[in-house]
Symmetry: C2
Subunit: 155 residues, 2 copies
């Protein structure tokens, strides 16, 4: 973890503009960004560096056609635990499974909901087995995605 817990997040209008630019093209040059937000290249770089250091910007990634990625099979999995399990413990269990794209504790019947992505159903089942292997996990309820209806980029 790159230090500096979570101090209060201060971001002005310019930082917001820089992030907007980077969101539409993370490979944009600092000069190009500066021209839009009205700053010099070095000032933009300094701000971006700080946004990264503060954890506001978590990283720069590429959006890939899901069909190509070979991660065609997706599932939403409800997790039911035995007794009381702390979010910290859950985090440790789930972090070990790379197929897990997203997970969070939730309100309602289930203790957590997990989104998994794998090459095919077999790989998905194997990943699911790893989750179910944890002693604190009582059972799971899976819903495999048949067809994707909406796909907007997530933060």
């Amino acid at each position: 973890m790159s230090g500096s817990g979570c101090r209060f997040l201060r971001m002005d209008r310019i930082d917001q503009g820089i992030i907007d630019q980077l969101r539409s093209n993370a490979r944009a040059g600092y000069g190009d960004i500066g021209q839009v937000v009205g700053l010099s290249a070095s000032a933009v770089k300094r701000r971006v560096d700080r946004l990264v250091a503060d954890g506001i910007i978590r990283g720069f990634t590429v959006q890939v056609d899901p069909k190509v990625e070979g991660l065609a099979t997706e599932a939403y999995v409800e997790l039911f635990c035995r007794g009381t399990v702390s979010p910290t413990d859950l985090k440790r269990i789930l972090s070990g499974v790379p197929e897990i794209v997203e997970a969070g504790t939730v309100t309602g019947e289930a203790d957590a909901i997990v989104i998994m992505r794998a090459r095919d159903v077999i790989a998905l089942e194997e990943a699911l087995e790893k989750v179910r292997a944890a002693s604190s996990v009582d059972h799971t309820r899976s819903a495999i995605v048949l067809s994707k209806l909406v796909t907007r980029v997530a933060g």
Copy 2:
């Protein structure tokens, strides 16, 4: 549309490696990537250019802390429909709600699962109302995310 519909996607091991590198850091230099995958900078650039032109790489984005984005409240919503509803109809209904980040038809009890993100619980409820307003929607079952355990970027 930048031409050339979807011909069969040919990607070799090297392309995969380049994308892996770009995924962990979309701002990585061509030289750095080449050093990992075993190619020269210019060869890497040529491949990246083609991956973008072919639509395999859709773009380069930045991952931003959701708390900062003002989209702190997230929910997983199961959708139960009245009678039989085609995926196309569902897509039309859900596309109109901007708070919906992801959605897909699924196996199991529910007809579809929807992921929503909003500023707060009130905004979330309003968005949910828009979904429930559709005549083909019978009822929904929501699970509001309490704490995020895993957050890996999605394709």
